[in-house]
Symmetry: D2
Subunit: 498 residues, 4 copies
Amino acid sequence: MILMIPRYEQEEVVKIWSDENKLLLWQGTELAVIKARANSGQIPIEVYAEINAILMQNPIDITIWKQLEKDLRHDLVAFLEERRRFLPEDLKLYLHGDGMTSYDTEEAAFARMLKESISVTTGEYTELQEILKEMALKYRYTIMNGRTHGQEAELQTFGKRCLTWYKDLQVSFENLQRTTEALKYSKLSGAEGNYGGIDPEIEKEALAILGFEPFYGATQIMPRELYAPIAHALSQLVLSISKIATDIRLGARSGRPIYQESFGKKQVGSSTMPHKRNTISAEQLEGMARLAKAFSIALTENIVTWEERSIEQSSVERVAWPDLFHVTVRSLKTISKILENLVVYPDNMFLEIVDSRGNYASSNAKEVLKEIGFTFGLSTEDAYRILQLASFNVHEPGRKEEKLRNRPPESFEESNELLHIFQTFEKPTPISIQYIIPKGKLRVSSRLGATESDIQRWNETLKKIFQDTKNLNKWNKVFMPSYILRHEAVLYEEILEQ
Amino acid sequence: MILMIPRYEQEEVVKIWSDENKLLLWQGTELAVIKARANSGQIPIEVYAEINAILMQNPIDITIWKQLEKDLRHDLVAFLEERRRFLPEDLKLYLHGDGMTSYDTEEAAFARMLKESISVTTGEYTELQEILKEMALKYRYTIMNGRTHGQEAELQTFGKRCLTWYKDLQVSFENLQRTTEALKYSKLSGAEGNYGGIDPEIEKEALAILGFEPFYGATQIMPRELYAPIAHALSQLVLSISKIATDIRLGARSGRPIYQESFGKKQVGSSTMPHKRNTISAEQLEGMARLAKAFSIALTENIVTWEERSIEQSSVERVAWPDLFHVTVRSLKTISKILENLVVYPDNMFLEIVDSRGNYASSNAKEVLKEIGFTFGLSTEDAYRILQLASFNVHEPGRKEEKLRNRPPESFEESNELLHIFQTFEKPTPISIQYIIPKGKLRVSSRLGATESDIQRWNETLKKIFQDTKNLNKWNKVFMPSYILRHEAVLYEEILEQ
Amino acid sequence: MILMIPRYEQEEVVKIWSDENKLLLWQGTELAVIKARANSGQIPIEVYAEINAILMQNPIDITIWKQLEKDLRHDLVAFLEERRRFLPEDLKLYLHGDGMTSYDTEEAAFARMLKESISVTTGEYTELQEILKEMALKYRYTIMNGRTHGQEAELQTFGKRCLTWYKDLQVSFENLQRTTEALKYSKLSGAEGNYGGIDPEIEKEALAILGFEPFYGATQIMPRELYAPIAHALSQLVLSISKIATDIRLGARSGRPIYQESFGKKQVGSSTMPHKRNTISAEQLEGMARLAKAFSIALTENIVTWEERSIEQSSVERVAWPDLFHVTVRSLKTISKILENLVVYPDNMFLEIVDSRGNYASSNAKEVLKEIGFTFGLSTEDAYRILQLASFNVHEPGRKEEKLRNRPPESFEESNELLHIFQTFEKPTPISIQYIIPKGKLRVSSRLGATESDIQRWNETLKKIFQDTKNLNKWNKVFMPSYILRHEAVLYEEILEQ
Amino acid sequence: MILMIPRYEQEEVVKIWSDENKLLLWQGTELAVIKARANSGQIPIEVYAEINAILMQNPIDITIWKQLEKDLRHDLVAFLEERRRFLPEDLKLYLHGDGMTSYDTEEAAFARMLKESISVTTGEYTELQEILKEMALKYRYTIMNGRTHGQEAELQTFGKRCLTWYKDLQVSFENLQRTTEALKYSKLSGAEGNYGGIDPEIEKEALAILGFEPFYGATQIMPRELYAPIAHALSQLVLSISKIATDIRLGARSGRPIYQESFGKKQVGSSTMPHKRNTISAEQLEGMARLAKAFSIALTENIVTWEERSIEQSSVERVAWPDLFHVTVRSLKTISKILENLVVYPDNMFLEIVDSRGNYASSNAKEVLKEIGFTFGLSTEDAYRILQLASFNVHEPGRKEEKLRNRPPESFEESNELLHIFQTFEKPTPISIQYIIPKGKLRVSSRLGATESDIQRWNETLKKIFQDTKNLNKWNKVFMPSYILRHEAVLYEEILEQ
């Protein structure tokens, strides 16, 4: 049985949620019950031995099972009929005997499928974290602009960004682990959970054989409150992955990508534009997140049923659980592959910092100015406004650009021409706030409120402050990466060495 | 390619969304473009004739296509390579020529798949409505308790309930039809929708061949704003269906079902409780609604993409569109089957009305009492409170029941005994508000605020009022089904005879 | 500031999420940082003492804060300006000093608001569970039909149903508790989480003052992976509540309600139908669940942001967190009120069992028949089919009903007449499967496949079997509530006595 | 009554959904019914005149209404009580008479609130589209890199991007308009929609007074199938807005923004980093989209109710409709404000094109090479691969960069030093594919599969081809903006001049 479309399905997940596996697990429950009854002396021990031997020798025939289901309109009863074919009359009544209800058989099997799927998920997660750990170490000293609101912010290392990705995933994974607490339990307590059939003692023993403890307080089924958090946790894991994928898409934007997805030597980027190197895998992960959220929403609704249960939840679970695992496992594999092969451009990271014109240190610069400036009469507010003005000053447009901003081209001919002009445009050497502030070279900006006289006062004070070499050294120090990043080590220690 | 799990998949939908069909529709777009270019004189007419003949003679080989896709990581380019295998060198450049981008080829194909799927949906919807129409007519005079808040309310016919189901579906279906307005359009306007490749004129002609008009304002793709309402409309249709299914579940509750799902002669109700006749199909429709909502949510998110497009939407669409149609078509078929074979119990509907003890007419009774009572000094408020009190009075428990309500059994032995007693319990003949009000037989109820003296006053007034036979006749008339339902005909006329 | 509509808002929640409280908590963070710096010797201890004294003496002025925010377009900076009004120049730079970023101040405050809200939630949950516990004990021996698929199933007690409600809530609440693990942590690690400002040591100390540990691996903000599970857990708790509410609505359906919401003595059921006693509170809880799910979905999306953060999450959190808590706390209070005042009808529970005509024991009856019947040549399959046939037999319609089922009324006059007839309809004394099976009184049912000859064979065998009084006693025993419910005690022990 | 948090609420929406307005609209329904009854001769015409006069003279007292609601637990009945205070006894029974049910009064009022809110929405939408239209015209010739997958793609104008935004919004708005078809209808057909009270004729007349037609097929309420599409359409409109907001965030990323949100002269960008100019308004719109989706999901669930209705939908509607309109109207206003004040940098758009090194024309270049190259033996595949290789060649890193990519820095000291070096780094003059292809200067790229001998063959052929000036001219033409964008005019015509 294939659940997800072949394009996205994961072989391990297909296997776990196959009819073959499900029926085998159903048989597992049935045999555990018989064994428990035999162990407790309720039935002769030979009964178990015989039934076990017969069923093991006769594999389940899926085709016959499907045929029977059509008539009976009941998959579990069809399974029992298929199995009873091989049992002598006097053993038949032991199979699914003692007032067992279908979901007595099915619940443990279902929980085992969840467990197996989570184990596959855990395996993939572990590999992914290994990759991120290596990246964090490899780029331990590769500095880059951190970005908040998409804007150049303070300096950080690329290794540290990898660490935050690592940690996001860890939070989501630990959350997933907590939700699997629910999988400790199962039930064999009959049609309404009050042991109309099987005794509590037999339940305990049979469940122990299958690796579970009894859940006291079930109805015909386990409450779906137990499983909804697992679905949500899986969707959250995919969301964490898609957050990383978004960061990769953002970093890969041309013209000056800081990293890109790897590109196959024979790969084709676009059917029409041969130069394209698209972040198609990362983008797909956004699609995966949309799907994962949807499946989680549907599975959460399964909590509500009527009284001692009705069967609304079943069709949702047949579709959404395996599909959610397909999506999760595929997402883990995809992001691992993207990261493992990520083409990283430290050169562009450096160039980006240079282009920030000192702003990468504006926070520390402001603090040092506040501190030194205080005795020179600069207020906290002044320090802030000086840094802000300087950051606008270093990005002030030239005359040609200014003009263009005020009057965009008015014909394509003008555009042709402008393109020609810009092709030979020489960028002025970038000036930095590190330089203009100590020199007192602030200028009026049309986009900020500071007046000519404010600025004059500031410039004079600044010159006075930085005549003192001690102050200037203090100032220059805050622009050194090694200074700014002096505390990043603690993150490595705390996150990777736990 | 199988998308939905076999249990729920619909053959027609499988076919439409198969790779085979998709690639055939891609070829359709490619040929339409070549034809349009030939028609306009841009390329020789023989080019089209030749290419068309060759491609028609050489069916698409899905296996080779899949193989090519693995290397190229681009499904459309893989398709072109597969097709070009059969073309002589000088014809190759015409296939997907003129700067076409992948989505030029794919969008029209995609819209056609949506159209075909909606056409299947429409067919199933039409059959369903025929069934409901017949039911409405068959049960035109079968009276029943309407229910609001699950409580017996006024009288209606079962035919009328069928009409409201019919109408709910109609509203949802007409909404679906309105959303398909979007499927008039497609695009061939190149990598960014500004005709970098194909001319606007060629686009118009090629799209006309495929049954579309150009959408001006596309990017690389059609905006997903066009399709999200379709997804929502489909999920809404399934919700309307699940509303009907809920009503069937509610009516089928034992002890006195008013209708039930049919039950196969060999069917098995429960693996452990042989007497069960469960509403499993109706319940499954609640599950289908959960899935439909989820798919619609995921598809709606596809509206947001980056700039001239990125490819987040693709994976969602591959999974969620076909699955949403599987769910919709299956839901339509299931509810049709349930309704077509519904076992209806008019006898129980009558018994239910009798058990409402006249309350089925309480609204009309109140109105007539207000009207007649006015000249006898009964206020609007009085009339209301009299009817309320009477309705409590007719359901007042006997002494035995009262006692039990105050003191539930305190051991299972007591329960055993009580069960024995209740087995021979004779229900008192039900009294009706139709009788006790004109007789002035209201009594104090511990559960309402009316005082002994209020009630005495009311009883006396009531007796006075109903001494007049004219008033009594008026009173009795409002308890006649034919009177209460005198206006239902207008619904039949307006709904069925449009 | 009022968030939820007044109708649904909860005073405690309003208070926690008010601007007043938020700003006070921001001040709390600021003071903790200054204190920590003082403790570590980074700044003079008097600085903390002075600032603390001044700020405590000058309460925050919300009006001024709002005014400042308009100009600055930054709520945290506006808050700092408002606070700095009272500080002498030399102390100003210590407030929000050392390179702190806004979210350094806000994150701990936010986590504290979550903690406080969850504490309110916990209080309401605890009261609710006390009510359910009492109900479980009060109705320890009040037997009722369990219902699966809305159908009479096996016997249980109403106390046990209360226990399963209790347990569902417990599962959801323990899940909520597990998610609050996230609230152990907060951050003061600066604009990108790498301690550009505050030292790791100062962070540790300041957070300890506020009751937190540092979260290593934050960006500018705490990852929203920490909080999404809390939102989901809250919505799940409301879903568990709405499941109970649904059960109450189902049990309250007229004609023979087993319980009802209490009804105020002056209450009005419907503006037009005075007899109505609607389950309006329980129905509202379904609405609350719809809202809770929606808020949880929105909050889960907050996981994805760009790089070191952008601010998409903020507007969602301002609205959805308080609203989700309003909905949760209100739902807890509403269900508590419904349950505390629930009007329970044990008499109707007994009558319902009687009307099930022995089917309440069909599972146990089948098991005993399988066991006894085996030596008489009855197969497992026979036993099942006998019970199924008997259960159909005891519900076989009379001739009058049969006729009506085949030919519904064809005019309202006919309906009038039929209603009259049914008003005096005498129900035949119910027969039970407990009786007809041992007597061998099975009859052909048109709705099942068993043939005349099958049935004859079965009847003869049954008579033979039950000639033996020992067998008859065994048979009758399984119809005794005390027998069927012999194991319910274990649920009470395991659930209530933990 | 305040619904949304003050931060986001919209005054017009507050007013429409206020209790004051709601009660006034309820009174409107009541009066319309009385007037219709009077018009039809059912009651004396003076009755209407008198009641109308009295109610108009006595404004509704909200405080009293709220008090009454507490006792009665029914808001509509409380309203009637408040109104009846002013009516003489003989007129009282006409108010809400003739068997009207609460929702007869409420449905028309509710639909009118929806209509009014949509009218506010339409007003804001219209203003937004005016702004976009102006932008489209202003930037009619301002060329920029289109971007697909975040990568430089073909050339377009910024005006054209504005046009696609305009069109996206138009599609969503026209969809909204289609859904309002539902607001043509209302109902006065009583407790179950079958005219137990008011006659069909009176309904028709009364609804006409209020501007509606009767909806035949209602239950107690209008089916929520009518309104769910409106909610979805509103959320879709917000999604379209958030798509534009995302594009703005992407374009505003530093280092070379192509546009930015405007920034107040006194504005503060970050509490710690003075240089920040964050896209906070655009980011907030992503949050608004999350909220809008959530409200739409909750409102869609309202379709399902029980039988002739229960009241699950009410609480959802009280919260989610006004909040959805707050979010929608606010989003429209915010995006209008962002766009109206958007700071556009045509200079940076040009620089971006230059940096694409000719790739902006790669699609057209490939087509022309295919066409010219054919007679020189270049296959379609060759043409594609040549363009791809050239595009890699022009971005090949220098030796210094290459080295850094292979060996990232291994200490912060190294980083310090590298930053120093890069600060004086001179970028080599960019070479373009426009130049290297005709010159036959392709080189091996380590990242693509083309071999040395392939490339040699290609280079020779290329040189041969472009010896012919005619071919070279053809080639150069496709790099001219005026050529590439020759068809954009059709978009302006079709979109703006309809």
